[in-house]
């Protein structure tokens, strides 16, 4: 049976910024944004589930983040993931893509490797699209990015459609492989009610009384947390320390403001605007 690992990330919902999340100075209050399952990571989980339906597979979802990120792991269980892992450690904080991919690749080795690793093309908070390929490089395996469709899957090979920007490519490759998936690939399924009932008590282990821990263990409700020590990683390669890139400065974007000429919403004013457009542009271009 194929082993699939899905790399997922909980991200602030940067795509739906409303008035409530704007500060008075016109910048975004990042703390006020709701945390969501990174959209394209849902597309990659959906690919994993489709592969499982077709040839059978064991799906593990891994996320690195604060304890709160366990929310997307529960969502993964509701959708049909078999195993989930929270990778969490204060020493991982401030990691850039290189330090993140190092930790994730070590986690994948630690849980027994994978035939297929899936990740969203990019996360909406950073938009870098780097962690996926870098995990593949750390594991010394093949990677294909910008997958827009799962075409075929057999026990020996997978065929995908790649959005090559100027061309659409159909690519067949063997295992192991890491694929990054775009939002074009599919419509992620909704959570399954039965799975929700089965897993809604699932949690990471935090300050439980002993009898409760036993019960949680019996029912398989404990979501394992993997720390730096579990993996035996050097501090120098994790988090801020292990990150070659540093954030030098951050500027919240404010609107600059030009010399704005407003025209009224009536025919006379619109005519004036039309005249101005024609004077400056239409003669030139046509």
């Amino acid at each position: 049976m194929k082993k699939i690992v899905v790399l997922a990330k909980q991200v602030p919902d940067t795509a739906n910024i409303t008035g409530n999340t704007m500060k008075e100075d016109g910048t975004v209050n990042r703390g006020a944004l709701p945390a969501i399952f990174n959209p394209e990571d849902l597309n990659s989980l959906e690919v994993a589930l489709q592969i499982k339906e077709k040839i059978g597979a064991e799906i593990s979802v891994i996320t690195m983040g604060p304890p709160k990120a366990v929310e997307i792991l529960k969502q993964s269980l509701y959708m049909g993931a078999d195993k989930v892992y929270l990778v969490s450690d204060r020493k991982f904080a401030g990691a850039d893509t290189l330090a993140t991919s190092y930790v994730l690749s070590e986690v994948i080795k630690n849980i027994g490797g994978a035939d297929i690793i899936l990740a969203g093309r990019q996360a909406i908070d950073g938009d870098t699209a780097q962690v996926g390929p870098q995990v593949a490089e750390k594991l010394d395996i093949n990677s294909i990015t910008y997958i827009s469709k799962l075409k075929n899957i057999t026990d020996d090979s997978i065929t995908v459609e790649r959005d090559g920007e100027v061309q659409t490519e159909q690519i067949k490759t063997g295992f192991p492989v890491l694929l990054t998936i775009t939002s074009d690939a599919n419509e992620p399924r909704y959570p399954d009610c039965r799975l929700m009932l089965k897993h809604f008590r699932s949690s990471i282990e935090i300050n439980f009384e002993e009898h409760k821990v036993e019960k949680m263990q019996e029912n398989g409700w404990i979501i394992p947390t993997i720390t730096r020590e579990d993996l035996g990683l050097e501090i120098e390669r994790c988090g801020l320390k292990g990150s070659p890139t540093k954030v030098h400065k951050i500027k919240s974007i404010k609107l600059a403001g030009n010399n704005l000429t407003m025209y009224g919403d009536n025919p006379t004013e619109i005519k004036k605007m039309a005249q101005s457009i024609i004077k400056d542009y239409v003669e030139v271009s046509g």
């Binding site: 940067t14 795509a15 910024i17 975004v28 990042r30 893509t97 991919s101 909406i124 908070d125 950073g126 938009d127 699209a129 780097q130 962690v131 390929p133 870098q134 750390k138 093949n142 990677s143 990015t145 910008y146 065929t159 959005d163 090559g164 920007e165 100027v166 061309q167 659409t168 490519e169 159909q170 690519i171 067949k172 070659p244 890139t245 540093k246 954030v247 030098h248 951050i250 500027k251 919240s252 974007i253 600059a256 030009n258 010399n259 704005l260 000429t261 407003m262 025209y263 009224g264 919403d265 025919p267 619109i270 605007m273 457009i277 024609i278 400056d280 542009y281 239409v282 030139v284 046509g286």
Partner: protein
């Protein structure tokens, strides 16, 4: 200082991709004050037909490796070859175009070199930093474009960055560097070829943002596919091109290839008319370099008015038909 730029070919035409020219010139302007060398690296089946163009934009040398097995994107092989090329030169800076190829290979190479990579930079400059001497400052939008972050790689070399096509510009006046091509020697391993290409279909693009002086774009505020017809009509009346915000594309008002913004095209026309576009930062990242911006929006507080030069607060379904009428009359 020494800089390397990844040279990319448009597989459909066999010519250089524009971003390779843009970055060659950018690297030249960055390194010129330090008398730095600008080196191109290329791997593929055939050199781009117009490769000599790069020497008019400041390239000093091109290092290339040719192999028929590299006709299509073999990321694993590309990573090994390009990493070797970079190691052999020990540059301070490496730039990649943030194309679907560049964004595929650059992370692999940076990981193999254990160095930092900053994606989709909109600004690059060299300045002194503490006791590190002159380093590359890399500015990029993050957090959905709501913040502008300046990223540095103070300790590792090379400092790597990618830049989207259309962000940097090519000069009209050209340089006259001698053409210098150097073939790279490497023990090519057949095991590096991991992908079998079953088919390749060229995408038919009907969008010509680069050659359009005027772009009319519609957003969520347009309301429906039918209403979006007005955007097209206005674009046609002005002999321009039409585009859309991400929201309009998500609603199905326009094709994805027409998306303008951080995750779509970056455009800088002479005139940009934003209709029913609120002006989310993601969208502004793709159009705010336009020479003149006209905004038509129902919401007087829409951020788009903050960067517009002319504006109307009103419903585009009422305003555009009137605008169209006068444009026809006045012509």
């Amino acid at each position: 200082m020494k800089g390397i730029v990844f040279i990319e070919k448009n597989p459909a035409t066999g010519d250089l991709r524009n971003v390779s020219k843009e970055l060659t010139y950018k690297l030249y302007t960055l390194l010129q004050p330090y008398k730095g060398e600008v080196i191109g690296i290329f791997a593929g089946d055939e050199l781009p037909k117009d490769i000599n163009e790069l020497f008019k934009l400041g390239l000093n040398r091109l290092i290339y490796y040719k192999n028929d097995r590299l006709k299509n994107l073999q990321s694993f092989a590309y990573k090994n070859i390009l990493t070797s090329m970079i190691k052999s030169e020990e540059p301070d800076i490496v730039l990649f175009g943030a194309t679907h190829t560049g964004r595929d290979i650059a992370p692999l190479v940076s990981s193999a070199l254990h160095t930092g990579l900053t994606a989709d930079c909109t600004q690059l400059y060299i300045d002194e930093y503490k006791d590190k001497g002159n380093i590359l400052f890399q500015r990029r939008p993050a957090f959905g474009g709501n913040i502008l972050a300046t990223i540095i790689t103070p300790d590792e070399r090379p400092m790597m960055a990618s830049v989207r096509e259309g962000v940097m510009q090519i000069p009209e006046k050209k340089l006259d560097n001698p053409v210098k091509l150097e073939e790279f020697k490497i023990d090519f391993n057949e095991n590096w070829i991991k992908n079998e290409f079953l088919s390749i279909v060229e995408k038919e693009s009907k969008v010509h943002f680069n050659s359009s002086d005027i772009i009319v774009a519609g957003g969520a505020g347009v309301g429906s596919v039918d209403n979006f017809g007005l955007i097209k009509k206005l674009a046609w009346a002005l002999k321009g091109e039409y585009g859309a915000s991400r929201a309009a594309v998500d609603f199905g008002f326009a094709e994805k290839e027409r998306q303008i913004g951080q995750t779509g095209h970056v455009v800088r026309p002479k005139l940009y008319i934003a209709c029913g576009i609120s002006g989310a930062v993601q969208h502004r990242a793709g159009m705010e370099e336009s020479q003149k911006i006209i905004a038509i929006n129902k919401d007087p507080d829409a951020p788009i008015f903050g960067i517009a030069h002319m504006g109307i607060v009103g419903d585009i379904n009422e305003t555009i038909p009137i605008l169209l009428k006068y444009l026809k009359e006045e012509k």
